[in-house]
Symmetry: C2
DNA sequence: TCGTAGAGATTGTTCAACAATCCTGCAATC
DNA sequence: GATTGCAGGATTGTTGAACAATCTCTACGA
């Protein structure tokens, strides 16, 4: 029966891509605005305002608030409203605690380590340097973010990647709260490339150490 | 002005413990039932049923579903309903990928490492052994869970602890899907104590190795 | 056996309403 | 002058009902 082979093949596809629910769409719009900086930390998100702006009902808006609150991108204060999160110093420390645990571990022990991913990491590190040479600070920032996303991907775990995505989103908020000189990221370009080289050379343990140093340094620069 | 000192003192308190919203309460009830096994994997959660059972409106129920879905304890299939999640083999692999990354890293590099936490770890490991001696498999399971929760706590990060909590909740579902001999956990009691001893002796690196081995073993037992 | 059509049930979403709570401004008090 | 007490208005929390969209199941016919 060629039915079996078909069944097996289809079973790979995880039951279709379910069209996003209204709440998820609203969540996506708000998330983008928060991450891209149109909605700055502390901004209040009134249900009525969003209702009028996006044309969804209040209930739907509220459901999307629940999602964003779970991602820690907004804070809900009962009977007062929801506000775009403003990371505190303690949040920053916690975010770096997560990263310092996750990223070096992924580099040293991640199961997705291989020529393909490492290749992408090397590429994006080089891309960051080019952006810097072109005087494109936003390009630098973007490359840096992808770099760390890929480091997280080394773990080879969906859940870790999701977590990393959330952490990086929160980091965007951090940079909007803490004043950083324009090229905060530029300072780390060389180290990115160095780490990429170590990974390419199979020196995962040393790459891991470098990452820990790197993240320590970044944290104290942000907090100092 | 003693006003200032008061202001500073109160600012420590993070704006009161906000009474749980209805959706959060529903979420808590459902989460407990799922974790404790009253609601087994695959069970369908009809909005109407929950509405009648708990006395909250449909909208509130839906908001709580959104929360549980974010925790991966339930799966939402559009226009079909929400179901208690049934972890697949791939989910199990992913969960162990997370744990194998997180727990050893927390043991080796976590910043909350200290006599207090290590003491608790030693205690709960011993407690597991006693439960086993008393022929109390549920006590063993519980001790084991706390053991790993504490390992995660070594990271010293709120976000990591939350993640660990979620992972352990999912693990409860795993054990309900995969048939395990009654004392699956009992097999690991000695290793728990050994790891606890290593931590107490300051041999964090070796504890980390042991944990990796341990988790590898557990995973293959579950999948094999 | 297969395909189709239709009825019934469930979810997705909206709307309107009300209670509970918060915020603002102003008067009363010390 | 500063603090407290108190309406009045605005916003959130929650509910109930309604309707469209979609799924499931059954029955029927080719």
């Amino acid at each position: 029966m060629s039915n079996d082979v078909l069944a097996v093949a289809l079973r790979q596809t995880p039951r279709a891509m379910p069209r996003l629910s209204a709440a998820q769409q609203v969540g996506k719009v708000l998330r983008d605005h928060i991450i891209n900086g149109q909605l700055t930390p502390g901004t209040r998100l009134t249900e009525e305002t969003i209702t009028e702006a996006l044309g969804y009902s209040r209930n739907t808006i509220r459901e999307s608030f629940a999602l964003l609150a779970a991602e820690r991108l907004v804070v809900r204060e009962t009977n007062r409203g929801v506000f775009v999160a403003t990371p505190s110093r303690s949040d920053i420390r916690d975010l770096y605690a997560v990263r310092r645990l996750l990223e070096p571990a992924a580099a040293e022990h991640g199961t997705a380590y291989g020529p393909e991913l490492v290749g992408q990491i090397v590429d994006v590190a080089a891309q960051g340097r080019r952006a810097h040479a072109d005087g494109d600070p936003d390009g630098v920032r973007q490359a840096n973010q992808v770099f760390h996303r890929l480091i997280g991907a080394l773990a080879g775990s969906r859940r870790v990647s999701d977590l990393m995505e959330g952490v990086l989103a929160e980091m965007r908020l951090v940079f909007r709260v803490v004043a950083t000189d324009g090229d905060f990221h530029a300072h780390f370009l060389e180290r990115n490339e160095h780490i990429a080289e170590l990974l390419a050379a199979g020196e995962r343990s040393r790459a891991s150490e470098q990452l820990r140093d790197y993240l320590d340094d970044a944290e104290s620069r942000l907090l100092g």
